[in-house]
Amino acid sequence: MITVGIDVGSISAKAAVVRDGELLGSGVILTGYNARNAGEKVFVDLLAKLGLDKDAVDRIVATGCGRSSVDVADKAVTEITCHAAGAHFQDPAVRCVIDIGGQDSKAIAMDATGRVTDFAMNDKCAAGTGRFLEVMARALELDLDGFGEMSLKADRPAAISSLCTVFAESEVISLIARGERRENIIAGIHESIGSRVVAMAGRVGLTEPVMMTGGVAKNIGVVRALEKKSGKPIRVSANAQVNGAIGAALIAVCHS
């Protein structure tokens, strides 16, 4: 049986194809202004890459904040349930997932079967999410991909105290003006994300093993900051960014 998960997030759209419990492949594109098109395109592109025909797909589940706009999907399931399923598939021991995506950060508690037992999400504000990091990268005139490695070279992480993305950006600009090292500024940004997310995750209890998923998990600096603030080791899956899509594809199996 072949199932597909399509995860349309605020920044990127992801797709994953699963055949009989095995990940066949995955793809990521930018969502852009049209979530409907992005969901369709990431799906079509991935099938083409894998040389699969649409008819070969048995079932499709959409997830992410654009989940209801994916016309090809048979069902929409929230990213909370999908990230738990994806994490459980990649590491069945995991009991807590921290997912930081483009505009959401979530902490998900799960049982031994991968079922969600509780969750917490960021509220009104997108500080501490992927978009927050993008804004900071722009202020620092750096490519976001290098953020993680650079932050590991910090000798004294700067203090970023503002909870608001816009004000935190001004703080970063003042730090630049004061001649603070970029490495320290970036490490400070990661620590501010770490504090915020760990405080939120405390609500569901950070039961080990903890896995980080979502696009921001590619940033080793954020992972280290989360470990520092929580005092717990964090596992990162190789497929962190497409974890939600994988979970959606697996849920599609259960619902067929």
């Binding site: 904040c65 399931v77 990213e79 909370i80 037992t117 969750f119 609500r203």
Partner: protein, 413 residues
């Protein structure tokens, strides 16, 4: 539009609560009477929603509730405009939206009914929050009218003898204040009668709410939010007793004939905190789409929650305790116990808590109550962040995901 009438869905028609029309008539009549008080020679008192209204009724003063008006402003989606107006007047955006809307509305006679009638006096009881003190002081200065403040100490763990004596003395001062304002002697026999009617109304309201113990529930918390207005505004009158008798009969008939608020009710939820007045329909539809019915809530039951402390035969003597020990004037542990009891009583499968940006005393402690309910009842819980009338604090996409995910947890989907 071709002018053709929308076809009536007989199923939907059957589920409509018939008493709604009568309720609207009563409320319309009430507001007309209040707004024409200056022509009929009656006095108008503005009073906080948790305040002791019975002495006003006994003195033939028309009680008017800025908070009920606030709910109407919210339901009419006029909250943001008025809140912005208050902010332009210099009030902080963090202040309660009812307070902001009321303070702004008074200066422009805005809102869905063109503003409240001018008060002759203000009665403020701080059993619901501390904001009301400053809010009513602002209005007392604006309207240049006398203000009576009834201070009900917070009952952290117990209601002490000292607290009782303190509040009981103030009730005598309240009566003396009314005698001065109305230029007539207070009639204690009349208060006893009003107290009896108040308690009868509260008992009936509790019975109405209790009909949802039945599965499927004949009404939902969203219906309770609407029908609540009478026990708040006209408590202590025969009108309330008559209306809730009628509503209770209708609910009993619905139970007997199997008419449900949510036709395919599979999940039963408990709601905590005030409604999101500008989104009640949206939320109701959202939960109903998941076959979930909000069968009870901690808010509407507050207006009959202290019956055990009230006494028919000594209403005045028991008022101090009845008004001091309301739901949000007690400690978090007691609140949690009450929520746990409600979960059991109404067989709730989950708890939905509205963390209300406006109402700090109601929202403080919610995470503790959530944890206690999870531990004692083992049911899933959800916190959604919103506001009772300030729509700027409502993020549809965020709340949709939370509710959908919560229902996935609850149903094991």
């Amino acid at each position: 539009m071709n002018g053709a009438e929308k076809p009536i869905d007989p199923e939907k028609e059957k589920r409509k609560i018939k008493s709604v029309g009568r309720m609207k008539d009563i409320m319309t009549h009430y507001y007309i009477e209040a707004k024409t008080a200056d022509q009929t020679g009656k006095k108008v008192a503005w009073i906080t929603s948790g305040g002791p209204v019975e002495p006003l009724i006994a003195m033939d003063v028309i009680p008017v509730y800025p908070e009920n008006h606030g709910a109407m402003i919210g339901a009419a989606k006029m909250g943001v405009d008025l809140c912005e107006k208050a902010e332009a007047m210099g009030y902080a955006g963090d202040l309660c939206a009812y307070a902001r809307a009321d303070i702004a509305c008074a200066t422009v006679d805005g809102g869905p009914i063109g503003g409240l009638p001018r008060p002759d006096m203000l009665v403020c009881c701080n059993n619901i929050c501390g904001t009301v003190l400053k809010w009513y002081e602002v209005q007392a200065r604006y309207f240049k009218v006398p203000l009576f403040i009834l201070d009900t100490p917070f009952s952290h763990t117990e209601y002490t003898r000292e607290a009782h004596a303190y509040v009981r003395t103030q009730l005598d001062e309240y009566i003396a204040f009314l005698e001065t304002q109305c230029q007539k002697k207070f009639d204690h026999d009349r208060l006893a009668e009003v107290g009896r009617l108040s308690m009868a109304g509260q008992r009936l309201w509790q019975q109405v709410l209790d009909t949802t113990v039945h599965r499927p529930a004949p009404m939902s918390a969203f219906d309770a939010f609407f029908h609540l207005a009478l026990i708040v505004t006209l408590r202590g009158t025969q009108t309330v007793v008559d209306y809730y008798t009628e509503l209770l009969d209708e609910m009993k008939t619905r139970v007997a004939t199997g008419i449900a608020a949510v036709p395919d009710e599979r999940y039963r939820l408990l709601w905590d905190n005030l409604p999101v007045w500008f989104r009640t329909r949206w939320l109701s539809d959202k939960f109903a789409a998941h076959s979930a019915c909000l069968v009870a809530d901690t808010y509407t039951s507050s207006w009959c929650g202290t019956l055990t402390y009230l006494d028919d035969s000594d209403f005045l003597g028991s008022m101090a305790q009845g008004y001091s020990r309301v739901y949000i004037n007690i400690g978090t542990d007691q609140m949690a116990d009450m929520v746990v009891d409600m979960v059991e009583k109404y067989s709730a499968d989950g708890l939905v808590m509205h963390s209300n940006r406006s109402c700090k005393p109601y929202s403080l402690g919610q995470y503790d109550i959530q944890r206690i309910v999870q531990q004692k009842c083992g049911i899933p819980t959800l916190v959604i962040e919103a506001d009772m009338i300030d729509a700027r604090n409502f993020s549809e996409s965020q709340i949709t995901t939370r509710i959908d995910a919560f229902m996935e947890v609850l149903t094991g989907a």
